[in-house]
């Protein structure tokens, strides 16, 4: 074999070589599955122990025929990175698939709107649902958003609009808060409860979510404000506008969608938080919309509570609530994506 592809990499690859590559990609998988089936081996294990070496061998051989020795290393790189990445995606799809398939078993209209007032762990799935938990989650998230979003935006404004020297420090501390373990956030509010004697209610739950949402909102908002060309601001200032007007009339409209994305990503961050809510909320199986008094159930704590008991119906409820929660996250996340994409395509059009 000559290594003419090394000498003249621009040459067209011959059909024969393309065929080789195709074979190296397609053949190993069925081959290994056949071997595993015939020998009666465990499929996932044989995938790792047999498939990867076989695939490496096949790709390495093709690489060697086409490029000589260096082709072997490249083939190994491609096979290993692809394999490891696929592994992550398989894990992700396994999570999604099990939540969707198991969750659907529990799902029914009354599961969405009923609460769990008279439900025992063994009550059949025809009664009771997550209605109160959905409302509770929405209430908590709303309360947190009302405080965290303006504050996060103000931080982002400070980081992008002012010339203060303290900006790097502020940024560092915001990043430090974003690494705050969620359970510590719950403990913090618990410490406040113990120190001041206020009762556990929806407000304390929202307070525990607040330190988790704030840094996400601030960071994403900062990124989106940074995307606004600084010339726009300078132009407004040069025309004699004060800074605050330049911000509200020029920069804010330009960064609107980005700021919306910041809110949505912040929501997606806290909607599934469990540990802080377990520490700061009293569970409640009936609907409660008063954030200042009484227990409150959120979707994550609902999952947590029902998973604690090992009855089949309880687990089914946990899966069902997980599915509802996942849908909620997906809606938030998806709309953040769509809005983000609109923005980027628009800015491309402008250029």
């Amino acid at each position: 074999m000559t290594n003419d592809l090394n000498i003249q990499p621009w040459r067209r690859t011959s059909l024969f070589r393309k065929l080789q590559v195709l074979l190296a990609i397609v053949v190993p998988l069925p081959l290994v599955m056949l071997i595993a089936l015939l020998a009666g081996l465990d499929l996932t294990m044989s995938f790792i122990t047999i498939f990867v070496p076989v695939q490496l061998l096949a790709a390495g051989a093709v690489g060697y025929f086409s490029y000589g020795r260096r082709g072997v290393g490249d083939a190994a790189l491609i096979v290993i990175t692809t394999f490891l990445s696929m592994f992550v995606l398989i894990l992700l799809f396994s999570v999604l698939w099990s939540v969707v398939s198991e969750g659907f078993k529990a799902l029914s209209p009354q599961f969405i709107y009923q609460n769990n007032k008279y439900v025992e762990p063994t009550t059949s799935l025809e009664y009771g649902g997550v209605g109160h938990a959905i409302l509770g989650t929405l209430l908590l998230v709303l309360l947190t958003t009302i405080v965290a979003v303006p504050l996060g935006f103000a931080m982002a404004i400070y980081l992008t609009q002012s010339q203060s020297k303290a900006r790097n420090m502020v940024r560092t501390f915001t990043q430090a808060i974003s690494g705050l373990p969620s359970v510590v956030s719950g403990l913090f509010i618990l410490a406040i409860i113990e120190a001041t004697g206020i009762g556990r209610s929806g407000i304390t739950g929202a307070m525990a979510l607040f330190p988790l949402m704030l840094p996400t909102v601030a960071r994403v908002a900062e990124e989106s404000l940074k995307l606004v060309p600084v010339d726009l601001r300078y132009a407004a200032l040069a025309l004699g506008s004060p800074n605050y007007r330049a911000f509200f009339r020029v920069i804010l409209p330009a960064a609107k969608t980005g700021l919306l994305t910041a809110v949505l990503l912040g929501l997606a961050r806290i909607v599934g938080e469990t540990a802080p809510l377990i520490l700061t909320l009293n569970p409640n199986s009936s609907t409660n919309l008063n954030p200042f008094d009484g227990g409150l159930m959120a979707l994550p704590t609902y999952v947590y509570n029902y998973l604690a008991s090992y009855y089949d119906t309880s687990q089914a409820r946990a899966w069902g609530a997980s599915l509802v929660l996942l849908v909620l996250v997906a809606i938030l996340f998806g709309s953040a994506r769509i809005i983000g994409r609109q923005k980027s395509s628009k800015s491309k059009g402008k250029k």
Binding site: L92, S98, M155, V183, L187, N243, F333
Partner: protein, 329 residues
């Protein structure tokens, strides 16, 4: 200032003034800087409240709190010691990082250098979706779906590599499930998105000329990856790994489901069904804790917070240094 401005305006000369002039601007900057300083305030507040609650326990237990391994809240005087949980957290975070790092670097490389643009976008979305999965869902999945699978992997590791101390088990009947090994995997799934997104960001900022130059000099893809891309990106990737480590140390609910928490230090036996994690321990004990024990849990939270704070500070310093273009532009 106002006077000065009026003076300048009256004199007919124009001069550059630094700092806000109008009242509106002053309020604008004042209110935003108050919000910004709130971040210092919040960190201080968290530390102060936790410390306030934790102080009695820290005083009565002394260094034993983080070095000893007994948790006897009923005993007189109370003994609260955290070492097995602290060590367990470190072990699990370490397993998680070890598993997640190669996967994340592969994913970042795949997205940045191998996939066509459209597929790369889809892959990025999927990774971000993985980051958005609530940990309680991962815990549920880990407990019911993943535990049997990973326990099977553990069994195979034990059968063929059991001579290595970390894969050894004493009793194959009661091992594998609820082990640090499985908790490490769950944590790995959680931190893959963090390390991936940081690595990808760093990869995307590497000068393309550098890579093309290496290829033009006759380098292969592998040698370019090993000799050019990895060294250039290494500090950023390490920062990303540390960010993941910080997250892994603080993971609570998912580990709570998949790990058997025991107050006995499991030094290195990854496949035994005993381990620890500070955050999960807080959750596990909280329900039936007496007020005094709750203070012990606050102290545990304080220790956890200080550790994650240090790890995160270090990580952010490294990541920021690796991305000088992110500084105040």
């Amino acid at each position: 200032m106002k006077k000065k401005v009026a003076e300048l305006e009256n004199s007919g000369r124009r001069k550059l003034a630094s700092g806000p002039l109008s009242r509106g601007d002053k309020w604008f900057f004042r209110s935003t800087s108050i919000a910004a300083y709130f971040s210092f305030f919040l960190v201080a507040l968290i530390l102060a409240f936790l410390f306030n609650q934790a102080l009695p326990v820290l005083q009565s237990q002394g260094m034993g709190f983080i070095l000893g391994s007994e948790w006897l809240p009923e005993k007189e005087p109370m003994v609260l010691q955290l070492a097995p949980m602290l060590w367990g957290s470190l072990v699990i975070a370490f397993i998680g990082v070890t598993i997640a790092t190669p996967m994340s670097i592969s994913l970042a490389y795949l997205i940045q250098f191998m996939l066509p643009k459209r597929l790369a976008k889809i892959a990025t979305t999927l990774v971000d979706l993985l980051a958005a999965l609530p940990s309680v869902i991962l815990g549920l999945w880990g407990l019911i779906v993943f535990t049997p699978v990973a326990a099977g992997w553990g069994e195979i590791l034990n059968r063929y590599l059991g001579f290595i101390p970390i894969f050894a088990v004493e009793d194959t009947e009661n091992a594998f499930r609820s082990s640090p090994w499985i908790a490490g995997w769950i944590v790995a799934v959680m931190i893959v998105p963090i390390i991936t997104s940081v690595s990808r960001e760093i990869f995307s900022q590497i000068d393309r000329d550098l890579i093309n130059g290496a290829l033009a000099l006759g380098g292969s893809k592998l040698s370019t990856f090993r000799r050019v891309i990895l060294p250039t990106a290494s500090s950023g990737v390490i920062g990303g790994v540390l960010l993941g480590l910080g997250r892994a140390l603080g993971e609570t609910v998912a580990i709570f489901y998949v790990l058997n928490l025991t107050m006995k230090i499991n030094w290195y036996k990854l496949l035994e069904s005993e381990g620890g994690a500070v955050a999960s321990w807080i959750l596990a004990r909280f329900g039936e804790a007496s007020p005094a024990e709750k203070q012990g849990l606050m102290a545990a939270g304080l220790v956890l917070f200080v550790i994650t704070l240090l790890v995160n500070f270090l990580a952010n310093v490294i990541v920021n240094r690796a991305q000088p273009w992110r500084k105040n532009a």
